[in-house]
Subunit: 205 residues, 2 copies
DNA sequence: GTCTATAGCCAGATAGAC
DNA sequence: GTCTATCTGGCTATAGAC
């Protein structure tokens, strides 16, 4: 029993390593350019072994997405229990976290266009469950922030939600980092500003 | 002489048709998923014929990008000569125009990650020239709007520029359109609001 | 310059030994 | 479950007839 459990543990660890590599490569190259061979080589196993764990490239990408959603959920729960901040500050904290993940090269950004991938994701219950859970948490904060007058009341909550998701893989961050003109902290601060206060800046116009 | 000119005209028209098809397919599927066969089939010619006009898939994509940059420049020039609006309103007009193009399914959004494509673009003088020209025009308006206090003065102009480019292919637009809950006009108005006034809305907080 | 046909390559997925 | 070796299909790009 203990031996079986140990073996399972080793297998789980290997699977984690695979997903972590896929996660990083997805962030670096994107789904279409990343190859399964690269992932296997990065982990240090044969491609056929990888396919014992994941039946397709799409499922591998889904696992990477689930992983980052899990990390997001963990962070959200931490915020929920340890801070007494207002909803708007919690939303900003989440946006800040996603940008840090992106700067660390750990934010897999899947193309919204690839139909095979989207189809696979839409039938992946685990993925959809996590996505829904994150959306619910953020949605609650969004409506709370609107009630408090800290978020534009005229904006449908879904628009704010989609915007936050989109900013999590905003290409502006990569462009600024590539330019080498700003520190990571400055980049995050500026993008937080443009996200919540707009290009016009605080004070409206 | 007239006959030669006519033939050249026909050729030019065919080339335009190719680029227009590529443009649409790039907007719909993205560079990696789009195939040259599809473009040729869409135009109604053989793939080999297409390769007489463009020596590679990357060059074809570059031509599509140049096309949309030309359209943008034409619009910018129109704004420059026909309106007496402030720089901030001209920037908003450009952002509005890019969103209309995107809603029309005519905004080719190339992945920032594909290295082969980026390498080809970076050596394409025509593309770089157009990109620089658009950047210069917008950059002038950005600094003017900052002087007038209509754009956040603390923001480096390049950040505002990158943000405008990024919003031109913001996936939020596609998500909202796919949801079917809003009219095109509403979508554009909301995204213009979040872009310039932020999620918090006009009035800062 | 346009076509049909095909070369050449590469990536996703699998077979079968261990 | 892991490996090596291979299959399979699709895509870019080209050859060669007309």
């Amino acid at each position: 029993m203990a031996k079986v459990s140990f073996r399972e543990h080793v297998l789980q660890a290997r699977e984690d390593a695979i997903v972590a590599s896929a996660n990083r490569l997805l962030a670096e190259k994107g789904f279409d350019v990343m190859t399964v061979d690269e992932v296997a080589a990065d982990v240090g196993i044969a491609k056929a072994s990888l396919y014992k764990h994941f039946t397709s490239k799409e499922e591998l990408a889904a696992a990477a997405m689930i992983r980052v959603l899990d990390r997001a959920l963990a962070f959200i729960v931490t915020l929920d229990t340890t801070t007494r901040a207002g909803a708007i500050d919690q939303l900003k904290a989440v946006a800040c976290w996603t940008m840090q993940v992106q700067l660390a090269g750990e934010m897999p950004s899947l193309p919204a266009q690839n139909s095979a991938l989207r189809a696979a994701l839409m039938t992946n219950k685990l993925y959809l469950d996590r996505l829904m859970e994150v959306s619910d948490k953020l949605g609650a904060w969004i409506t709370a922030a609107q009630k408090a007058g800290h978020l534009n009341r005229k904006l449908p909550p879904e628009v704010a939600l989609y915007t936050l998701f989109a900013r999590a893989c905003d290409p502006v961050l990569g462009l600024l980092k590539a330019s080498g003109q700003h520190s990571d902290e400055d980049i995050i601060e500026m993008l937080l500003s443009t996200c919540f206060d707009g290009l016009s800046g605080p004070g409206g116009r």
